[in-house]
């Protein structure tokens, strides 16, 4: 608890990836295309996923992605993510509660530019069930 992981490798947001993500959502909003597109708000999940990889790869926690259920999600935006931004995501474990073989883990990924300007905070609660042997 309170553990913070090193930020993810810098991620450059491209117009092509924004278009791909918007198409995957089936969302034709013109803000996602053109000269200076912004990313759909939930695009933050792309950087969040990279940060979660570090959490699930931590041998000390021994969490398995296959045994995780995403229980809730909150995004707080400081500004929109735009094509051309290069950002990293730093994951912090906010809380861990144990209930029998279940662990309820709350994490926040803070997405910021390389200059340190905050872009979006993505908080998630996961329910992890330990394998019973």
């Amino acid at each position: 608890m309170g553990r913070t992981y090193p930020p993810t490798a810098p991620y450059e947001v491209s117009a092509a990836k924004i278009a791909e993500f918007a198409a995957a959502l089936g969302d034709p909003n013109p803000a996602y295309s053109g000269e200076a597109p912004v990313a759909p708000p939930t695009f933050a999940a792309v950087i969040g996923a990279a940060a979660w990889d570090g959490l699930f790869a931590d041998p000390e926690l021994d969490l398995s992605l296959e045994r995780v259920v995403h229980a809730d999600q909150t995004f707080v935006w400081h500004r929109p993510l735009r094509a051309g931004d290069t950002v990293t995501g730093a994951l912090n474990i906010d809380k861990v509660r144990c209930r029998g073989a279940m662990e309820i883990v709350g994490v926040t990924v803070r997405v910021a530019t390389l200059e340190g300007e905050p872009v979006v905070d993505s908080s998630s609660t996961f329910v992890h069930t330990r394998a019973t042997s």
Partner: protein, 137 residues
């Protein structure tokens, strides 16, 4: 349009198909097999392949971004994943219905609550989005 608590801002019915799940897996980099393999889904006790929670979440937010126009106006968005959206392997997929209603009005922001259902079953809980009033004329 006057914006007050109870104002319905819009509704949306979107069909999520297996093809869209594959697309979203690639775009989001969430390759959890429960979103593309019936075998993996049933191993976890699910009826079948389910939609990514974040896909349902992103789809529901369209009610709000279609309303404000500018997606950059969204400041905060939260939801609980209460029930999986099972997506059958057919052309119709699973229809997700979203209805947005203003639930709070402040000086510089409006909060919208979105009801998200699939086949009459609520699939997301406590879905709220806060948008800046700047985008709303």
């Amino acid at each position: 349009m006057s914006i007050e608590v109870g104002t319905q801002i819009g509704e949306l019915a979107i069909s999520l198909t297996r093809a869209q799940l594959v697309r979203y897996a690639g775009a989001s980099t969430d390759f959890n097999p429960i979103h593309w393999s019936d075998r993996a889904a049933s191993a976890l006790g699910l009826e079948g392949v389910i939609a990514h929670g974040m896909l349902t979440l992103g789809t529901a937010l369209r009610v709000v971004t279609d309303w404000v126009g500018d997606p950059a106006a969204v400041r905060r968005y939260s939801a609980r994943f209460t029930h999986p959206v099972v997506v059958p392997d057919d052309d119709e997929g699973a229809e997700v219905r979203c209805v947005g209603t203003v639930s709070a009005v402040a000086e510089d922001s409006v909060t919208v609550t979105i009801e998200v259902t699939c086949g009459g079953q609520k699939v997301l809980g406590a879905v709220t989005a806060e948008v800046s009033r700047k985008g709303l004329q």
